[in-house]
């Protein structure tokens, strides 16, 4: 089947199996391997990406059902000059990542949290990230990172987009 979508600002059309998951499409067809797969029950959130402004677990979406969508992965967040988007920048300054496997999904989920609630409490951050599992950090520094990113203002809840992003 043919599917067309915009991935990190690039419009593309590919022939895919109808059953191909968006996560595998991004990794293997688009060669965007930052997005990781950590489970098979939509439990861990490592595969979280932004689809049309919403954070979505890409292991639970068929590639073909993202027809016409605008998809942003970790690779699409930061500029070519190496300047980090406020959320990954805060993950670095607050040591919100260790092994890094949950990080791409966690960063995208955090953007989703901040898009919906630009000034969350710690409890709201924790609830917003409940579907994203991390084994290394105990979440302590992830919560701090999200709070630090929130101080950057609305940009923290947005992804680069031709259409503008809403929560």
């Amino acid at each position: 089947m043919q599917v067309s979508m915009t991935v990190n600002g690039e419009e593309r059309t590919d022939d895919v199996e109808p059953r191909l998951l968006l996560a595998h499409y991004l990794r293997e067809v688009c060669d965007l391997r930052a997005t990781n797969i950590g489970c098979d029950t939509t439990s861990c959130g490592a595969c979280t990406v932004i689809v049309d402004g919403l954070s979505v677990k890409s292991c639970t979406v068929l590639a073909v059902s993202a027809e016409g969508a605008e998809v942003t992965t970790l690779e699409g967040l930061s500029g070519p000059d190496g300047e980090l988007h406020p959320v990954p920048a805060a993950f670095r300054s607050e040591h919100g990542l260790q092994c890094g496997f949950c990080t791409p999904g966690m960063v995208m989920a955090a953007i989703g949290v901040l898009a919906a609630n630009p000034e969350p409490s710690d409890r709201e951050v924790r609830e917003g990230l409940e579907g994203n599992l991390c084994r290394c950090t105990g979440y302590h520094n992830i919560v701090r990172a999200v709070q630090t990113a929130a101080q950057a203002g609305p940009a923290a809840g947005q992804v680069p987009s031709s259409r503008g992003v809403t929560a």
Partner: protein
Amino acid sequence: MSILGTRVVRIEDPLFLTRGATYTDDVVDERLAGAVHATFVRSQVAHGRVLSVDTTAAHKAPGVVAVVTADDIDLDPIPAGLPMVPAAMTRPWLAKDTVRFVGDIIAVVLTEERYQGEDAAELVEVDIDPLPAVVTTADAARDEVLLFPDAGTNVMASFGEPAPADFFDGCEVVVTQAIANQRVAPVPLETRATAAAWGEDGRVTIWCTNQGAQQAKGQIAGWLGLDPDLVHLVTPDVGGGFGAKIGADPEYAFVAWLARRVGRPVRWVESRSENLVGMLHGRAQDQVVTIGGRRDGTIEAYSLVVDQDAGAYPRVGVVLPTLTMLMTPAVYGFPKVHAQARVLATNTTSVGAYRGAGRPEATAAAERAIDLFAAEIGMDPADVRRKNLLPPFDSPHTTPTGAVYDSGDYTAALDRVLAAAGYPELRAEQARRRERGDARQLGIGMSVYVEITGADSGFGSAESAELEVHPDGTATVLTGTSPHGQGHATTWAMLASEQLGIPVDRITVVHGDTDRIPRGGGTMGSRSLQQGGAAVHQAAIELIDLAKQRAAQVLEADPADLEVDLAAAGISVRGVPGSGVTFAQLAEAEPLSVQTRFTAAGPTFPFGAHLAVVEVDVESGKAELVRIVTVDDAGTIVNPLLAEGQRHGGIAQGVAQALLEEVLYDADGNPQTSTLADYPFVSATELPSFELVEMATPTPMNPLGAKGIGEAGTIGATPAVHNAVIDGVSHLGVRHVDMPATPMRVWRAIQQAATRTQQEGSL
């Protein structure tokens, strides 16, 4: 100003946060072009006779390149590799006659595409005649059903002797309790994965996610009967390990074997549901503690007897109880200590190391025992601890089990954590809630711990480092340690930068490639900084010596008159900065590099104290952790930002064991927690932010003064939280609840205590 002890953000992060790390399944390499995908067919039955394996339909499925069963194997079974284990307890590469756990491998399908593998694997028809399953250590110990009939027993190993009959004679109070230190799943977010490709030179390159490339290489070469020089093993970025990625897994060697058989590169990445039955589990001890002493709180004798569940095939789990036994005396000066263990085979997933690996089990037992004793004599558990803690020491202390603790001040750790937590105020609040009969009661739990880090695991307490400065002023560090989240790229760069003056972001740290780094002990047992970091420190000092000799010729000076010029990153005449030659300039003339090996004087014994506050809803039994305050003394800290991260992660895993996580099997050995929808992996909502208290007692065992920090959190947190839950309902008559302290367990314990009280009242 020294860079050591400062909060340097990680130099590896920009890549991790823009393009993402490169884990094994992300590796793109021309040697892997045209790779086929391996899919394992695993037993759905815990114990049974394999009657037939029919691969006819699978062979015909789209994309199938090969289907391999036990009949195709020309390899000897995998030996235990542990001298104490009966020789008959070997693992076949593919089950031929018998399956021994749900997850045992029966066949493997190789396909062009990954999805085709799942389709074809479902077409392999396996007929198994079930046998009774051995699911618990109690089942196993009866030796009625044997996993390995040729061994004549399910006992894989025994350590120690029973306690003498008079061991507790003379004690005014003796308390005994059976305690389950339950089986948990390590669940690194990256599941197991490997890829293998054979070159025309007859060498195989294996990529895999592992905590020690050199050790894994040696095992794989041995299993496959290969000259180790023919194996090149690479561990790319590793998405967490927690002990479960120590040593090679059979799947890794087998994928290399398959690649040779089909003449094409082969890749494998497991699904999470495969991981939860296929990857090593942790803990899994059934313990009996007995503690005796006087009514004034003095402990006179303590005994710990362990039944270690090793799972179906012997792995590291066999030797974990030796660490538990070694650490049985814990932080206390008990006059008499007894420890004994037995290791048993069951029809379950094999058990290995999990963050702490044998030491959390020792601490959990001792800290629970102290609380049981305190409850029995009606004394504050903090006071019982104070009365029995070893006094402060800065010269080696030898324990009754033969551990030689390097330095410690356990009372100070306890006092600090109690002060930081506001212990008297917490007890007052607890009393108020009890008096009011609140539904939400307060539980306060503590632990004081000591652990062994950097223990000699058979590969020596030594580590390699190579350091080279390049003509462009950058430097490369090669290390035998194997970071998988710990941030060695940053910390090792700090250690080199401190000596050489080269900025950390100009220093690249390389690990996990056996061609470039033939010797290495990997990252496990909290050894990395105290051995691998110390090796980098030593390499930098040796490089300075070498540079001084060369600079002496260039500058026509006596080497004794030269010193490091940190600002210039070079060597200058003493007292005349800028007068000399940079390391980069020296490297232009001829390569400037050193190789070294650091040997630690001995293991180190980090210690600390944790205090947990829980709210327990006595109507539902639900316990919620509201605070955890920790003192974790790991000696000198090189990078507090990263050390805190290690503590945080360990605390979370420790809390998870106390409150949530447990691998469960039904009576037939069917796993009940084989997906992340079923296994209650701790999430952000179940944890508070952590309150860390600083304390640093340097060790004399290495020039950095550093002890290990990787496992402290799990060791301290589990018993503190566990004790807190029981403390929260102790006024209702509850003395013990096994972990995880789930609402159901706590609620049942409350009901049972009420019934008991009623019965006692009616007598």
